[in-house]
């Protein structure tokens, strides 16, 4: 009835803050390491766990889910209770959420370098972790929703809407994209194959950016900008419009990541159109943020918090303009697969997410520690390091991206590729890679200064773990009660129908999904066949080593690409690819038609020491592939898993899988010996080494379309079960 007194939990806020900083620095450092590996491929030697292909996913995961993730929770756990005038619903859940999330991150740090990955970008973590993520995410959701239910403030501020959207959408995206069938404890195959897998992945991938790196941070912007500048948002009405239009459109933009791929044309155009539409709401939001500070630029000049946030919003503006532009086919034709995209995302990550996060840290820390910022000067130094760092990172990468991509596409007057050797185009932009690394280090130095400043600040004060606050209990005798009964009844049927529709939709989907998916996997090209057991192993190694981080497997229908790599890729060629391996960046050449292009021995030498086959190559060497044994015993399980996601092996093929592997491996090793590659620099090549399986896979790539040779010929299995494929007794 009267005024309630309650306590905000600042401890959990502090925890998320600390986590943000620790993981931020970690993520940045890993980023710097991989950046340096561009310049010195042998940097840190050739330790499997520290190879580029394994660290790059670790970098992306660390910055997105560990740094940005914790930052989001930091912001939510601080602002949501204050906006709802009530503490978080359950301290227990808050704790569980915090420690759960950190555990997930640690498990990521543990598994990714060991090569346990699904190869799907921003969804690399394997199935047990996926489940954990789902669980913890729901914990977060429950805690948040209940807090909103228990709020003492009738109005739900727009920031909270953005938080809710984040929870709901990310949940759905994560689940849909993670439909996978476990083969072993840390290995699974997605139910989708090839084009479909690609579509789902990028529907997820794009929306991950939308709902993990955008909406929550917009929420943060809508709370912290007004708070820090102590003036209301420029137009609250606009912010409401911003939210709803964003929510109703964003979800569709995914396919623009797959322009010129084997994806049906109309789906691609769809992506383009909806991406273009997004400019409106995004810029609405940006202007709303910036105009809030009109007439307060003097404050901005003094207050590091505002400085960071202003730069963040500006970056958001740039990126949300760039995005739609990039989703226009002709632009994408140039920018895709190049470093341009890397620049684009770092523009967003470093300045938009980074800027807001550091702004938040500088805003919240003094408040919960009941003190003033240790040093404004240092904060400003940090600001300049961060901004300069970002600039030194982004500009060279834009430049390099365009340079290289134009070199890929350029033809001589006689109609030959000007740079037939992919390597030339890489060496051309090496200096820019160096600059990028420099920019990155600037940013890190800035971050370290920031952390020092914040620690000092914390030391100078004392954490107010339980912040007392007062608010009158919410009485819901507002006008909505007094409004006449029929007006309120009106809404019911509509809501009900909608809800039932949703229920039916979801029900139907879940029931009908698997069969339909498998049906639509029936090859449109007869000659395309599943991989042999050894090739499957090779493929899994390809994934484990993260080759797809630098090599695409998707030749777009441009003359420049068909000239360079061979016939362009068809949707029908990927029907057995669980997961798809199209890749999104070409640090090295495309591999879809690599099969049969070079002798086995070339691949062997190339793996052992890339420079021996291609002098000057910046590809790291993979000596361990010649030493480590391939994994045979789990093969039957893996085949079974593949069968259950619809790859038409005979149900009895698992029995013969291992036999096939040994046979085919032996055959390849034979061939190598005959050509005098029994040993490389004293290392003996035996048929049970990983490299053999990898060679088998690489040599198979993109060869089916010719339909010349049946991969299963003369394999023991094919002798035992006549005509294994597709039909079964």
């Amino acid at each position: 009835m009267s005024v309630d007194t309650f306590h905000y939990d600042n401890k959990i806020v502090k925890n998320f803050g600390v986590a943000t900083m620790i993981w931020g620095i970690t993520g940045f450092l890993i980023g710097l390491i991989v950046a340096l590996k561009f310049i010195w491929p042998d940097f840190l030697g050739f330790i499997p766990e520290l190879s580029f292909g394994r660290l790059r996913p670790l970098h992306t995961n660390a910055v997105i889910f560990a740094f940005a993730g914790n930052a989001i929770f930091y912001g939510v756990y601080y602002s949501l209770p204050r906006l709802s005038k009530t503490p978080m619903w359950s301290k227990k859940l808050s704790k569980l959420h915090f420690w759960g999330w950190q555990t997930i991150i640690i498990s990521a740090v543990a598994t990714l370098p060991l090569g346990y990955t699904t190869s799907k970008e921003y969804a690399e973590l394997e199935w047990p972790i996926d489940i954990a993520i789902t669980f913890i995410w729901v914990v977060f959701g429950i805690n948040m929703i209940m807090t909103i239910m228990k709020r003492r403030e009738k109005h739900i501020y727009v920031a909270v809407w953005f938080y809710i959207a984040t929870f709901v959408t990310v949940a759905v995206l994560h689940i849909v994209n993670s439909f996978e069938v476990p083969a072993t404890f840390l290995k699974s195959y997605p139910v989708y194959a090839g084009v479909q897998d690609a579509l789902v992945q990028w529907w997820y991938g794009h929306n991950a950016v939308a709902f993990f790196l955008t909406t929550p941070f917009l929420g943060i912007m809508y709370y912290f900008i007004p708070k820090a500048s102590n003036r209301p948002i420029f137009s609250y009405r606009l912010s409401i419009v911003h939210f709803w239009s964003l929510i109703f459109i964003y979800i569709w933009a995914g396919p623009h990541h797959l322009l010129y791929t084997a994806l049906p044309g109309w789906v691609q155009t769809l992506g383009t159109v909806f991406s273009l539409m997004l400019i409106a709401p995004s810029w609405g939001g940006m202007l709303n943020g910036l105009l809030t500070l009109r007439g307060a630029w003097d404050k901005v000049r003094e207050d590091p918090v505002l400085k960071f946030m202003v730069v963040a919003i500006t970056a958001y503006g740039m990126v949300t303009f760039e995005g739609p532009m990039l989703s226009i086919a002709n632009v994408s034709a140039v920018a895709h697969y190049s470093d341009y995209i890397i620049a684009h995302v770092h523009n967003g990550a470093l300045l938009w997410n980074g800027g807001l996060t550091f702004g938040m840290l500088y805003f919240i820390t003094p408040r919960i520690y009941r003190t003033k910022l240790y040093s404004i000067k240092l904060a400003n130094t940090h600001f300049w390091f961060a901004t300069m760092g970002a600039i030194f990172y982004v500009i060279p990468m834009y430049w390099g991206g365009i340079t290289q991509s134009l070199m890929w596409k350029s033809f001589t007057a006689e109609g030959f590729l000007t740079y037939p050797n992919f390597l030339e185009t890489v060496l051309q932009i090496m200096p820019l890679y160096a600059l990028r690394a420099f920019g990155g280090s600037l940013f890190i130095v800035g971050a370290l200064i920031g952390v020092y400043n914040l620690i000092k600040t914390a030391k100078s004060g004392s954490l107010l773990e339980q912040e007392e606050a007062q608010a009158p209990a919410l009485q819901d005798h507002g006008e909505d009660k007094t409004e006449s009964w029929h007006r309120r009844l009106e809404g019911r049927p509509l809501k009900l129908t909608v809800l039932t529709v949703i229920a039916i939709l979801i029900g139907g989907i879940v029931e009908y999904m698997p069969t339909a998916l498998i049906d639509s996997n029936i090859p449109t090209i007869e000659s395309v066949q599943p991989y042999t057991a050894l090739e499957v192993e090779g493929r899994d190694i390809y994934i484990a080593e993260g080759c797809n981080n630098c090599h695409s497997q998707m030749i777009r229908p441009f003359r420049s690409e068909t000239e360079r790599y061979g016939e362009y890729s068809k949707a029908g060629e990927f029907v057995y690819d669980h997961p798809f391996l199209w890749g999104s960046k070409r640090t090295g050449p495309d591999l879809h038609r690599i099969g049969g292009k070079y002798p086995d021995s070339w691949h062997l030498r190339h793996m052992y020491d890339p420079n021996s086959t291609s002098p000057g190559s910046i590809m790291p060497a993979y000596p361990w592939l010649l030493e480590q044994d391939m994994d045979m015993e789990s093969m039957p399980n893996r085949i079974n898993a593949l069968i259950s996601v619809g790859v038409p092996y005979s149900t009895r093929y698992p029995e013969y899988a291992i036999g096939d592997m040994e046979f085919q491996a032996e055959k390849i090793t034979q061939g190598l010996r005959e050509n005098g590659f029994g040993t490389i620099e004293g290392v003996e090549i035996t048929s049970d080494k990983k490299v053999i399986a990898l060679i088998a896979y690489l040599q198979r790539l993109g060869t089916d379309i010719t339909g010349e040779n049946d991969p299963f010929d003369e394999l023991p299995s094919s002798k035992k079960l006549s005509n294994v494929i597709l039909e079964d007794e």
Partner: protein
């Protein structure tokens, strides 16, 4: 920062009003008046001092102390029931309109009231509407306490008879937002599912299954748009037709059904995917237009009739005891008591021996008139000076004021032809469209019957006047925004149309072209010694008469010190007689001085009001009061004269004629001594030939304002009352009047142009349609394109025009 401090020291810490530093110690905080001080300390005790951190000196000055008695009537049950929106056992909620809400601090304080009165559960402010809704615990507090609390801290709620009678409505109904939401949602998604067709999905990889799937989805999505989102248009069209009329909604509705039916047919028959995207988009844009049109201005109170001027309650004498009762309960023969500045609620006879009544409210005559015992005082008069007793002779409902208001000329709604251009042309439009449809249908029946039906519907579809319907709302929408930026607040968006069409301007005088707040005083006579001045100051100090107060503030400087008065007496409506030491002083009207001193002041011919001074039996001279024109007004009037016929229509006497005649083509255009009734008839007759813009203030112009083609009432505080009118103009902006009108005219042209544009779109569409080339794609491009380009054109054009007129176009 430094500046800040300096200001703080010379201005009240509570309300920021300037403070004569001499009269207060320099120590911070300082206050301009006792009221402010009390509030400050009240807040301090309850540590509500954040109030002062949020904004600099946010308080409202409490110059006039308040009499607690005033709110007794709030105990009265039926008054309460009218003020309480909701009530259950313990909890009641009630909403007040508080003009004083003006800054962040106000919101904060009013939402922390529970710290001042623990009976209050919760207060919620709507800043734009200046509205505070309070939930309180009836067992701990009651309406009266709350209202008194609010008043003490300077947020007196505005409780007037009118509010007790009707509850006000929401500016934009929620339903409209919902309809828009649904339309927008379906529009986006339907568009998505229509794409494949545009990109000839069907011919690409065998995806017919999608065609069916998308078709189905589109039908599912389009249905709610038809039955929910577009219902308003269909209803209104139906209403129009059943009254044998045709408004713009008729062709719209035809289009709606054509679009929906045709699309449904195509999908079910598998001949195509229909035009659902155009359909949904069309409704979506229409609804946006509707919302813009519905835009009203929160926080401003329009359309107050006389009731809003009357107090809710009055002190009634019941066997000698004063008791506050609701004015509506007053019966003939009741005896009532009125204090200084209170309004006479109903015609009544003066019981006290004398009283000063200010009728400016009704007549516009700014000088108070003297009433003696047994004189009749009309309702609407304002008592000035000492309190007095009156005998009610007519009930409120039958009083002069009411009669004036009930005048049937006012009643007759003069909605002759304010139908929008769009509505006026729509009959022709519709018939033409249908004509074309039928003709082309027949034509094709002759050429190729299979196509006939398609063509017929196609015509109806493209002819749908979407852009047409948007032109007016969007132009006027952005125009009203610009106008409000420049101090002219229109009641409705369509008002501009009327304002733009006027050719004659009629000004009220007092408070309109003359600034009632400042009249300049000049003294004629022998120069006064310091001592004499101090005498005058002392004797005028305590008087409530407006002129005494003007003289007081005119002479009162910081260096004077007051003379002690041994005796002072104010004879109502005559003057003041005071004695200090051995000197006597008379301040007052000519005959008052003559009677009491026997002096003959001779006769100085001055229309201006004057107050005469005599000290120790000899005449010193007189103060003269000249009404002062608002600044920039002369220039304005001269500018206006060249383009419009201008009149002056004043209830006041001719005293200012000389000063003004230059600005009003001599005397025939200046009309003085007009009673409200006369003003009304004057406008009535003139409007037969001219479209009149009436500019006035106060109740005396109410009739005229309502009767004129377009009525603007001047207000010097947006929270002050304004009679029924089409717009409120901020007094200081009056000098821009010509630009504002010019801009309104320009906006009207913009509308016509954009009508032209949208018609062009329709014609292009028709070209496609009759030749049988209206593919869904063409429609899907044409429809949004037309709507969006209209929105764009109108907004940009208005901004440019405004710039040309040197109006503010940005916040």
């Amino acid at each position: 920062m430094k500046e800040d401090l300096i200001i703080k020291h010379t201005s009240c810490s509570h309300c920021g009003e300037p403070v004569e530093s001499s009269s207060h110690s320099e120590s911070f905080p300082i206050f301009c008046c006792q009221g402010c001080k009390t509030v400050y300390h009240l807040l301090k005790e309850n540590n509500l001092c954040t109030y002062y951190d949020l904004d600099d000196s946010p308080g409202i000055t409490i110059k006039n102390g308040l009499e607690r008695k005033r709110f007794d009537y709030l105990i009265d049950k039926d008054v309460q029931n009218k003020l309480i929106d909701f009530k259950d056992s313990e909890i009641a909620s009630s909403t007040f309109y508080i003009p004083n809400i003006h800054c962040t601090s106000c919101v904060w304080l009013l939402e922390n009231l529970q710290k001042l009165d623990e009976g209050i559960v919760q207060g919620t402010v709507n800043f734009l509407k200046k509205r505070l809704s309070i939930i309180f615990d009836t067992s701990k507090t009651d309406l009266r306490n709350i209202v008194e609390l609010l008043t003490t801290i300077g947020y007196e709620p505005n409780l007037k008879l009118v509010q007790l009678e009707e509850k006000e409505h929401q500016p934009i109904p929620r339903g409209l937002w919902l309809k828009l939401g649904v339309a927008g949602f379906c529009f986006g998604n339907i568009m998505l599912f229509s794409f494949p067709e545009y990109l000839n999905m069907s011919v690409s990889d065998s995806l017919d299954s999608f065609k069916i799937f998308f078709g189905a989805l589109n039908i599912i999505l389009a249905t709610p748009v038809l039955i929910y989102s577009s219902s308003d248009y269909i209803k209104s069209a139906w209403a129009a037709i059943s009254q044998k009329g045709i408004n713009l909604d008729v062709p719209i509705t035809i289009g709606i059904f054509a679009l929906f039916g045709r699309s449904l047919y195509e999908i079910l028959s598998g001949t195509g995917i229909g035009y659902f995207d155009s359909f949904a988009g069309f409704i979506f844009f229409l609804l946006i237009g509707k919302i813009v049109q519905k835009k009203t201005f929160d926080g401003l109170s329009f359309d107050r009739d006389y009731k809003s001027y009357l107090p809710i309650s009055v002190l009634k004498l019941i066997d000698g005891k004063e008791q506050s009762v609701s004015v509506k309960t007053l019966e003939i023969g009741d005896e009532i008591v009125l204090r200084n500045n209170e309004l006479v609620p109903c015609d009544s006879i003066l019981q006290s021996d004398g009283a000063l009544v200010d009728y400016s409210f009704i007549t516009g005559e700014s000088d108070p008139v003297t009433k003696l015992e047994n004189d009749l005082i009309y309702a609407g008069g304002r008592i000035i000076g000492s309190q007095c007793r009156l005998l009610v002779t007519k009930k409120v409902a039958h009083s002069y004021l009411t009669q004036l208001w009930e005048n049937d000329v006012l009643k007759s709604d003069e909605s002759k032809d304010n139908r929008s251009l769009a509505d006026r042309i729509s009959p022709f439009f519709t018939s033409i469209v249908i004509g074309i449809a039928i003709l082309s249908c027949l034509f094709w029946l002759y050429i190729d019957p299979s196509k006939a039906f398609t063509i017929f519907t196609a015509v109806l579809i493209v002819a749908c006047p979407c852009a047409l319907a948007l032109s007016a709302p969007f132009t006027f929408g952005s125009a009203t925004n610009i106008l409000s930026l420049n101090g002219l607040f229109l009641k409705t968006v369509d008002g501009i149309q009327k304002l733009g069409s006027i050719d004659t301007i009629v000004f009220d005088k007092t408070g309109t072209i003359t600034d009632s707040r400042k009249a300049n005083i000049t003294f004629h006579g022998y120069s006064l010694s310091k001592f004499e001045k101090e005498l005058i100051i002392a004797s005028t100090k305590s008087s409530t008469h407006p002129y005494s107060q003007k003289i007081y503030s005119y002479l009162n400087h910081t260096d004077v010190d007051l003379q002690e008065l041994d005796f002072i007496e104010e004879i109502n409506g005559k003057g003041i007689h005071a004695i200090s030491g051995d000197s006597t002083i008379y301040v007052g009207s000519k005959n008052f001085i003559e009677e009491s001193t026997g002096l003959d002041l001779g006769n100085n011919r001055s229309y201006q009001t004057s107050v005469h001074i005599a000290i120790d039996e000899n005449y010193k001279g007189f103060f003269e009061f000249k009404n002062q024109l608002r600044n920039g007004l002369k220039e304005l009037l001269n500018k206006l004269q060249s383009n419009y016929e201008t009149h002056l229509l004043s209830g006041d006497n001719e005293k200012d004629a000389v000063q003004l005649s230059a600005s009003f083509k001599g005397d025939e255009n200046m009309h003085f001594n007009h009673s409200p009734q006369q003003k009304l008839t004057f406008i009535h007759d003139l409007s037969a030939t001219n479209k009149i813009l009436m500019i006035g203030d106060g109740l005396n112009d109410a009739g005229a304002l309502k009767k004129s083609h377009f009525g603007i009432s001047i207000s010097d505080r947006t929270s002050s009352f304004s009679p029924a009118c089409d717009a409120i103009l901020d007094g200081d902006e009056l000098k821009n009047l010509d630009n504002l009108i010019g801009f309104a005219k320009a906006s009207n042209n913009i509308v016509n142009v954009s009508f032209g544009i949208s018609l062009l779109y329709n014609i292009t569409g028709l070209a496609f349609a009759v030749t049988g080339h209206l593919s869904p794609l063409v429609a899907a491009i044409l429809m949004p394109l037309s709507s969006i380009s209209i929105m764009f054109f109108t907004t940009v054009a208005t901004r440019i025009k405004a710039k040309n007129k040197r109006l503010k176009i940005w916040v």
